[in-house]
């Protein structure tokens, strides 16, 4: 029987080996899911260094609590839930600090972006501008709205799944999503193509 390389192992196999304490399985899980965690964390904290910290914290928490993970749930949603809650908790503590100083973290991020984006704006392609605008628009949302929007628009989750991930009621998710959508549409209107037939 041929030995299966770790990189080709199925997710549930890797998790099983990780639960048994195999460091190679840990590494493989980290390499598979780090980008997803980073992307989600970045959308919420809007800061590269913080997002990397959240990736680290998420995997630490996941590996420490691996014995609690049961095979009947999917690994990635379980990991994503840890990441999002870690990111939200971080934004809460950061927001508190900035609120004390009389500023909101989102506004601060947006100001930084608009200030740094102007000199290079002409050289950038449309996609980069859109990406920056999205970042700025997300900065004007609350952390929870950012989380809901990211899970909905980027990760493709539906309302009940988002509610389960964030530990919110479906009605609350609906409200957050509607506000986030309205705000993002307003901020990104300039980039949106004209509707057909108009």
């Amino acid at each position: 029987m041929a030995i299966q390389p770790v990189s080709e192992a199925r997710e549930d196999q890797l998790v099983w080996f990780a639960q048994k304490g195999d460091p190679r399985a840990w590494r493989a899980l980290f390499e598979r899911d780090r980008e997803m965690i980073y992307r989600v964390a970045y959308r919420i904290v809007l800061n590269r260094e913080d997002a990397l910290d959240i990736v680290q914290e998420t995997f630490c928490k996941a590996f420490i609590n691996l014995h609690r993970y049961e095979g009947n749930e999917d690994w990635r949603p379980w990991l994503r839930t840890i990441a999002i809650r870690t990111a939200l908790s971080r934004t809460r503590s950061v927001s508190r600090i900035f609120r004390r100083l009389g500023r909101r973290i989102g506004e601060r991020e947006s100001e930084q972006l608009s200030a740094s984006g102007v000199p290079t704006a002409l050289e950038q392609i449309e996609a980069d501008r859109l990406s920056q605008s999205l970042h700025a628009a997300l900065g004007r949302l609350s952390p929870r709205q950012r989380a809901v929007a990211t899970l909905y628009f980027e990760e493709g989750l539906n309302g009940p799944q988002i509610a389960a991930t964030l530990g919110l009621r479906p009605g609350t998710v609906k409200i957050h999503l509607a506000r986030a959508r309205r705000r993002l549409q307003k901020e990104l209107r300039a980039f949106q193509p004209e509707p057909e037939g108009v």
Binding site: R34, R43, L52, V55, A127, L134, E154, R181, L188, P195
Partner: protein, 160 residues
């Protein structure tokens, strides 16, 4: 219209990648994660904690035993027939002298030896005055004067 908005936002999210992370940075993140590997660190920490607790516990118990031997009172325990401590005897000398001569008949109660209860004088407002005399296991005399209805302790160790 709403469908187009949704599609546009979904595409925007998916096409706007966050800043790239270099392999070296991922390696640094991984090394931090691996450093907190619970399978390698936690049991050791748990063992160290247990050992520290055990060492503290046994040191405490040992020190207590050693101290109890070291600081044993130099004065010998009062022999049967000795009087109560001076303060006690001064305070109650105007009433009646304690009669501890019959300590051999006393009983052991709650860790005290030779427990005896005597009546001191007539009742006042329905209450009699009693004196309880006893010795601790290490021979220190205990005298307790109190008011009460009737003595309830008997030499059989039960209640009357």
């Amino acid at each position: 219209m709403k469908g187009q908005d949704e599609k546009f936002l979904k595409e925007t999210f998916q096409n706007s990648a966050p800043p790239a992370v270099s392999p070296g940075e991922w390696e640094a993140v991984w090394s931090d994660v691996a450093a907190s590997h619970p399978r390698t660190r936690k049991p050791r920490l748990r063992l160290a904690g247990a050992l520290a607790f055990a060492a503290t516990f046994f040191f405490g118990v040992g020190f207590g035993l050693w101290a109890s031997v070291q600081f044993k009172p130099s004065s010998p325990p009062p022999s049967p027939g000795a009087s109560a401590p001076a303060a006690e005897s001064d305070r109650s000398s105007d009433e009646v002298q304690p009669t501890l001569a019959s300590q051999e008949d006393g009983m052991d109660l709650f860790g005290l030896k030779n427990v005896q209860i005597e009546t001191l004088g007539p009742s006042v407002m329905g209450l009699k005055r009693y004196r309880l005399t006893a010795q601790t296991p290490r021979g220190i005399p205990v005298v307790w004067n109190y008011y009460g209805g009737q003595p309830t302790l008997t030499s059989e160790g039960g209640r009357s």
